[in-house]
């Protein structure tokens, strides 16, 4: 039980730090919101009223406390530019982002693991060298370049012209595949190099261990060794990778993909909030994703325990 407690305390301290940073950056040191909220020719009294509403007359600790309690009670206010409530916006956009990003994220990891297993199997042969070389090449190509290239290749008359250039008019499964294919391919392309390289390093290390040599000596087939011993014993780093990159790939990736393809997900909303300085939206997105990430970290620790009871 003290283990659970220490993990929770650790997570709590991280949440405190993350919210402190996002509060300081966006609220305390952030631009003064008074004049974006009131119209022209406001009277002294109106200005004072808005400032009081925003809490500008209060101390750092008090305002940070209010920010925290707002975040935890999901009292997120409403967008400065559209007036829509922030929790409504999140409810509307998060499903779109998950539907957009998850296929590419999962495919990128599965393909990465498959290629890494193949490279480990054929270690130091030309297959391995080809896979390693391809992943370094993939790592040297910018995300933006991949997106532009695939868009021209697949969505314009200059290429194959198979998919829509931009947008997200999803009504059923067919239109879903129609709109999700190019973003998914971009995401797979951009994560595959990093994933393959990461998993290969883990598998190669595992394959070099003594117990694998023993299994080999007993005459197990290469496939069985890779599948039953190397992959299974690498589960902990694989899960770590998977869990820890979810928020980074989904959030950071969606920021670029959605603003590029004009898809109404959380990334597009965030991008618009950045360019228009929409503080309530930015506050909510930064605070909530960071908290979600920390929850994932704590959750990952519990999963480790389930997989491998030796881990403390």
């Amino acid at each position: 039980m003290p283990w659970v407690l220490s993990k929770l305390v650790h997570g709590g301290l991280l949440v405190l730090g993350v919210t402190l940073i996002s509060f300081s950056l966006m609220v305390w040191f952030g631009p003064d919101q008074t004049y974006t909220l009131i119209g022209k020719n406001a009277t002294e009294a109106q200005i004072a009223e808005v400032r009081e509403q925003l809490g500008y007359d209060q101390s750092f600790v008090k305002r940070y406390g209010r920010y925290l309690s707002d975040l935890f009670t999901l009292n997120l206010g409403s967008s400065n530019s559209s007036g829509e409530s922030v929790s409504r916006i999140l409810q509307r956009t998060i499903p779109v982002t998950l539907a957009l990003m998850l296929p590419g994220f999962i495919l990128g990891n599965v393909l990465g693991i498959a290629l890494a297993l193949l490279a480990t199997w054929k270690k130091d042969q030309w297959t391995d060298r080809l896979i390693t070389g391809m992943s370094v090449t993939g790592m040297s190509i910018s995300f933006l370049v991949v997106i532009i290239f695939l868009q021209v290749l697949l969505c314009t008359p200059y290429g194959l012209n198979l998919f829509p250039v931009r947008g997200w008019q999803v009504t059923g499964l067919v239109s879903y595949f129609h709109y999700v294919t190019v973003p998914t391919l971009s995401l797979v392309f951009i994560t595959l190099g990093y994933n393959t390289r990461f998993y290969r390093a883990i598998f190669v290390e595992e394959a070099g261990k003594d117990h694998i040599r023993t299994v080999k000596a007993y005459g197990a087939s290469t496939m069985a060794i890779l599948w039953r011993h190397v992959l299974k014993n690498s589960l902990v780093p694989i899960i770590t990778r998977f869990m820890f990159t979810i928020p980074l790939v989904v959030i950071s990736g969606s920021l670029l993909i959605e603003s590029y393809f004009g898809i109404p997900g959380i990334g597009k909303v965030t991008f618009d909030a950045i360019t228009s300085g929409d503080q309530p939206v930015l506050k909510a997105v930064v605070g909530l994703t960071a908290i979600a990430f920390i929850l994932i970290q704590v959750l990952t620790d519990f999963i480790y325990r389930l997989i491998d009871p030796r881990i403390v």
Partner: protein, 281 residues
């Protein structure tokens, strides 16, 4: 100097590492050329016709405004190096300092604070953090650099901390303590120099990360504010490619790819040379 020639000798064993070094050196010379005023000086002059095809005057053609794409692509080499050097050197230095102090004073409140800070910074999705910094520092041209340095140091910090914790139990450190050298001096003169290989590799890795990040941030409007960079060229090209004009896109993406590939090959070779156990990670 002797150390440098030794590194070169060991790098030359690997063909791909040498190739990386050659590519990076060529780009570095181009950046120097721009810096002293020999190359890429007409990057902003809009004196050509719009979307000219590559010819003897306009080697890579012109963009929407009639600007010379070749000049812009070459000037961007300097922008890339400026961002890469500032961010990689400062973030590695910050990571080395915090990591060394945390490792030297492990299991004290100083160590706890550094580890906590690194955990906090790693918990904020990077582009959101940059967005927040850019939001807080509106109009400050260094917002992008500050954001990258503030987040990139954590990886170096963790590595240096672990290494320092290992080194400080070694005999030479114990004997330095036994003869009564002050702790700070031991850390600076005897422990930190032994983490040089980590710092070198991390500088190279963060250089790549900084350039790649600049491209995304410039596209999002959070990056380079004045001047030109491959990221800005790619951002311009997103409209042009839909109209069938690919010169801007090709120039920026090919040069970006070559520089990143050079640095990745170099990083791999450095890793193989200094840290064969961690190689290929």
């Amino acid at each position: 100097m002797e150390a440098a020639s030794q590194i070169l000798r060991r790098l030359s064993i690997s063909r791909s590492g040498l190739m990386g070094l050659v590519i990076v050196s060529i780009f570095f010379l181009m950046a120097l050329g721009v810096w002293v005023g020999l190359l890429g000086q007409n990057w902003s002059a809009a004196n050509g016709e719009r979307w000219a095809v590559p010819n003897a005057t306009w080697w890579f053609g012109t963009n929407q405004l009639g600007q010379d794409i070749f000049e812009r692509a070459v000037f961007s080499v300097q922008t890339a190096f400026e961002i890469g050097i500032v961010v990689s050197v400062l973030s590695t230095a910050l990571g080395a300092t915090l990591g060394a102090v945390a490792g030297w004073r492990s299991n004290t409140w100083i160590d706890g604070t550094v580890v906590w800070l690194a955990g906090v910074l790693d918990s904020i999705p990077f582009y959101l953090f940059v967005a927040a910094v850019a939001y807080a520092l509106q109009g400050v041209p260094w917002a992008m650099h500050v954001a990258m340095i503030a987040t990139f140091w954590t990886a170096t910090g963790r590595l240096v901390r672990a290494e320092v914790m290992k080194i400080k139990t070694r005999e030479f450190v114990l004997s330095a303590r036994a003869i009564g050298l002050p702790g700070f001096r031991i850390l600076l003169r005897h422990v930190l120099p032994n983490t040089m290989h980590i710092l070198l590799i991390q500088t190279s890795i963060t250089f790549v990360a900084a350039i790649k990040t600049e491209v995304i941030l410039s596209f999002l409007g959070l990056g380079v504010q004045d001047g030109v960079s491959w990221g800005l060229m790619l951002a311009e090209s997103t409209q042009e490619v839909l109209a069938g004009h690919f010169n801007n896109f090709l120039a920026a993406s090919v040069m970006l790819f070559m520089l990143l590939m050079g640095f990745n090959l170099l990083s791999d070779a450095l890793q193989d040379t200094f840290d064969p156990k961690q190689a290929a990670l």
